[in-house]
Amino acid sequence: MKTPFFLTEVAQDWTEPNLASLQLALREAEDATLVRTNALEDPLFDTPNLANVRGVVRWSMVAKHLHVAANNGRFHGITANWVDLGGTHMLELRGKHTSVTACHLLRSDDNPRPSEYRKNCRIQNQVCPWLQGFQQPTPESEPLNLVLAHGGKNGEFAYLRAYTDPDPTVYRLLSKNIMQMPVLLPSIDFETVGEPEVQLNPAATEKESLQKAS
């Protein structure tokens, strides 16, 4: 179940340029995954478990690409932190009001598999002042936990979702499909360079007119 929702605080963290950077990082991660698990290039990957292997590689690539993108300043006002889940680490993109973790799904109507970490996030969201308005939020208030739900056969969807209910299938949709927003494709910004100017030499023109006059 999903509920269309808009939240100013989310829009403040996840501006259009930041969403564009998300899209770029996801595309790069998907490409990197496919290159690294190409069974035609490397026959060692040619097993019935390729999809599973690819899933693990994608998980790692997405986290790494988002981490590097954040560290390189591609996200404005967002930092990346590795959260220790006791053995594995989850990448968290932290803004002023939100915290985002990525999750790969096969279909856009799927939901992340339940986990202790996700359950805690949902519980926090149920009392999140940024969302519920029970109390006046302070700068120290816990952020709203969002899931960057991305996936599809060719990485064709990515949404920001807020899971705010004890039921792990209930969420509020906070963005359009990031992968299908054409305006978000970052354009290459080159230095502006003018054309070199070539003009008739004024001295030559003057000399010529003097000659004509005489």
Partner: protein, 384 residues
């Protein structure tokens, strides 16, 4: 009878990349005879001159035109890939091309104004980042990629010309002649990304090594090349913005950056190593993969077609201007400026002869070389 300017024979011979022995052999004359013609102790007959002009593929009138007095090279000629330019012959060839191209520009400046040279004073402290940053700031640039590199250099007064010496190892060279900075880019490799790096490399030489003498350049050897490479790399891929883009450090990741930065994958991998975005080990692995993929060989790297061309436009624009203002027709230029076709092509990036209109195409111009009037008396000619 008017006599030829001996230094023009030397100039034409060296431009053709020939030794005195080569020329003597092709003319069926002795080396001593060629030497005497070149040092002015004897004058070649008109028939000999005609043969020389045919053998060296220069117009006969060149021999009767003095080298302009204002032509003076300051500073060294610096080559990219010095190993390719190690032969004295190729150096001389390059030097002569530069002289003649500069002569053409001096002639053109009678009619046309070009952008004046605007190069920052760079003090090299072995800090390419600072030098490249100073240059970008001096020219009012930020840290974004430069697509129009040719236009940028030309608008800052650097005259870009093509050079073809029949040697694919030759990349580029630069020098300052009579206060005019020139950069000559090899056209034999047909590699856009490499050509852009070459142009930036030559910019590095013009900024950093213009006060060196030829001997100092020779003594410094590979060090000056390393400096120019480091400058080019930092100028074309500023540390902060380039680092931001290097997320995927696989070769495919660098390949994806090629359309944006317009640099070769090899140059980007090297830059990533210098900026410590990849380890030495990864760098070496990439170098091996690049070699194995054959990207260093003639077939080159993938995606070169998406790299912007290093456009040369000053010559073409001046030609259009002269044509539009009825000052002189393109096909008449070689009459006024008796330089070899290869030199005029290097300047104008066009074949002037091919511009002759159809109605004039069948007119045969008869020239009486023995009565051609020299522009200067040979006695007034400048000495080396």
């Amino acid at each position: 009878m008017n006599t030829a300017f001996p230094e023009r024979i030397t100039q034409a011979r060296e431009l053709a990349g020939q030794t005195k022995t080569d020329l003597a052999g092709r003319l069926g004359k002795s080396v001593a005879a060629v030497s005497q013609w070149e040092n002015g102790s004897k004058h070649p007959t008109p028939e000999n001159l005609l043969t020389i002009s045919q053998v060296l593929r220069v117009p006969m009138a060149l021999f009767f035109t003095a080298i302009p007095t204002e032509l003076a090279r300051r500073g060294p000629i610096t080559f990219r890939a010095r190993s390719a330019a190690k032969t004295c012959l190729l150096r001389r060839q390059a030097q002569r091309l530069a002289e003649m191209v500069a002569e053409a520009y001096i002639w053109l400046e009678k009619w046309v104004s070009f952008p004046t040279a605007s190069l920052p004073e760079i003090v090299w402290n072995d800090d390419p980042e600072r030098a490249a940053g100073e240059c970008r700031r001096f020219w009012g640039l930020g840290d974004r990629p430069i697509a129009k590199l040719g236009e940028l250099l030309e608008s800052k007064g650097i005259r870009l010309c093509s050079a073809a010496f029949g040697d694919v190892r030759f990349d580029a060279y630069s020098c300052i002649v009579s206060g005019r900075p020139f950069a000559f880019l090899g056209i034999e490799k047909q590699d856009r990304a490499r050509s852009r790096f070459d142009a930036a490399h030559e910019l590095g030489h013009l900024l950093v090594h213009q006060h060196f003498s030829d001997d100092e350049i020779e003594q410094a050897g590979k060090e000056v090349e390393r400096q120019a490479d480091a400058f080019a790399s930092a100028f074309m891929m500023p540390a902060e913005t380039f680092s931001r883009d290097v997320v995927d450090t696989s070769l495919d990741g660098f390949k994806r950056l090629k359309p944006k930065w317009g640099m070769s994958i090899q140059a980007m991998v090297r830059r990533a190593k210098d900026l410590e975005l990849i380890s030495e080990e990864r760098y070496e692995r990439h170098c091996r993969s690049i070699s194995a993929a054959g990207w260093r060989r003639a077939k080159g790297e993938p995606l070169d077609e998406v790299v912007p061309l290093t456009t040369r436009s000053l010559g073409k624009k001046s030609l259009e201007l002269l044509k539009a203002s009825n000052k002189i027709k393109p096909w008449e230029i070689s009459g006024e400026l008796p330089l070899p076709e290869s030199v005029l092509e290097s300047v104008f990036d066009a074949n002037l002869k091919a511009m002759v209109p159809e109605e004039l195409d069948n007119v045969i111009v008869l020239q009486n070389f023995s009565t051609a009037t020299p522009l200067l008396d040979p006695g007034d000619a400048p000495h080396d």
